[in-house]
């Protein structure tokens, strides 16, 4: 399978990429590692007339301890997130979950920014970032702005990024020793999650987010409220699917996804609490 024809331009800097996106508008697509976009282009589900390659902007590949958070450049590859000592210490949930994205070959190419900007609710990292209360930095022609992870995904494969903005950085609050758990239910090792759960707990605080349970990654706010009110993990986990809007597909019915959300939330919280 071969993508439909397109013109290819390579951006050498974020500024150049933003100018190119502004110039070519919605006829264009930005490509980083390409492991979300190229499969869509090969299936002709995406047919951009211009492909803007940002994969060589090395300035956007970094992991920095920034005090209360870790700053991750959008073009940081999954393999570099997974093996980062800074992230293993300060955001182990993210490092661990990233090691479950795709397979090693995919993680050699795919980037954290690409995964998040693609806004696929079946992807692991958007939900992990949501659970951790991450902030995204978007750069446009008039400068940068911050977007809370909770405000980022707007619908299936749609985000709050403007047409002329580029996701440049992911800011992940330090977990400060919080317990955490990540559960990904799939049929084969490298598959997307049928349902996934990212969870953390620290003293009275908690965060729980669900993969593939709505058209966007979704917070399990009922679970967190119940835990704050002193409910047991088992009781709180029963609320995991409340407010989610899962869709049926070949892998799972709505009811099965709701069941998985409850069962996996309990497992993730049990791990986080141990």
């Amino acid at each position: 399978m071969i993508p439909a024809p397109f013109d290819y331009v390579r951006a050498e800097s974020a500024e150049e990429a933003i100018a190119l996106v502004g110039q070519h508008g919605d006829e264009s697509k930005v490509i980083a590692g390409g492991h979300s976009l190229l499969p869509l282009m090969k299936l002709r589900l995406a047919q951009p007339s211009v492909l803007i390659d940002i994969g060589r902007i090395t300035d956007l590949s970094y992991i920095r301890d920034a005090g209360d958070h870790v700053a991750i450049g959008a073009l940081t590859r999954h393999m570099d997130v997974e093996t980062s000592d800074v992230l293993r210490e300060h955001a182990p949930l993210l490092a661990h979950a990233t090691s479950h994205v795709g397979d090693p070959q995919v993680r050699h190419r795919g980037t954290i920014g690409g995964s998040i900007a693609h806004a696929d609710p079946a992807s692991d990292l958007p939900a992990v970032a949501l659970a951790l209360g991450a902030t995204y930095v978007a750069q446009g022609p008039n400068g940068t702005r911050e977007i809370a992870a909770a405000d980022f995904a707007t619908s299936y494969l749609e985000s709050a990024l403007a047409d002329d903005e580029l996701l440049t950085e992911i800011r992940v609050p330090k977990m400060n020793g919080a317990g955490w758990g990540f559960e990904k239910f799939n049929r084969r090792a490298q598959d997307w999650a049928i349902v996934g759960v990212a969870a953390w707990r620290r003293n009275g605080d908690a965060g729980v987010a669900l993969v593939n349970m709505s058209s966007t990654p979704v917070l399990a706010t009922g679970v967190v409220s119940a835990l704050a009110d002193g409910a047991s993990v088992a009781d709180a986990a029963q609320l995991a699917a409340d407010g989610a809007d899962p869709q049926p597909d070949l892998n799972a019915s709505i009811e099965y996804r709701q069941h998985l959300a409850r069962a996996l939330t309990k497992r993730a919280l049990d791990t986080a609490s141990s």
Binding site: M1, I2, P3, A4, P5, F6, D7, Y8, R10, I31, G34, H35, L38, P39, K42, L51, D53, G55, M79, G102, D103, P104, Q105, V106, H108, R109, A189, Q190
Partner: protein
């Protein structure tokens, strides 16, 4: 547009459509057909090659993305005198193949795995090869081969 890259130690320049996939460049332009196309959807790993020393799936990479890169395919693994790479020898010794279709990709993924983790456990090999499917389901001997190769490299 022009794409210049090194394949198995030799520099090449090709004038290609931007939509040309790396695996097409390797098979159709460089004539190196050891790299197979299996699923064509980045699931099966048959098209795995090394890009700057790391295993990638060449069906999910544009050739232009590999411009300037150093690519190694299965044809580049043996020495010039024909001596097989230790991973190839281990696959032969441990009977790590049945039909052989997945084997080039398995060898490339496995050698990349050992470059990152020189002494993996059985479980780490199995997880490390999660991106490569063997439809003969000959995984047991493939894992044995990778473990044997890790010993040979010590």
């Amino acid at each position: 547009m022009n794409v210049t890259l090194t394949i198995n130690g030799t520099a090449h320049t090709y004038d290609l459509e931007p939509r040309t996939l790396l695996v097409q460049l390797i098979r159709e332009h460089a004539g190196l057909t050891g790299t197979n196309i299996g699923c064509d959807t980045s699931s099966c790993g048959a098209c795995s090659v090394h890009l700057d020393g790391e295993a990638v799936k060449s069906c999910t990479l544009l050739a232009v993305q590999a411009d300037g890169a150093d690519v190694t395919t299965i044809e580049g693994m043996a020495s010039a005198d024909g001596t097989m790479h230790p991973m190839q020898q281990a696959f032969m010794d441990e009977h790590g193949l049945q039909c052989g279709f997945c084997t080039p990709g398995m060898v490339m993924a496995a050698s990349s795995l050992l470059a990152e983790n020189p002494n993996p456990t059985d479980e780490e090999v199995r997880i490390g090869l999660e991106g490569n499917l063997c439809r003969c389901t000959g995984y047991h001997n493939i894992v044995k081969a990778v473990l044997a190769a890790s010993g040979a490299n010590q």
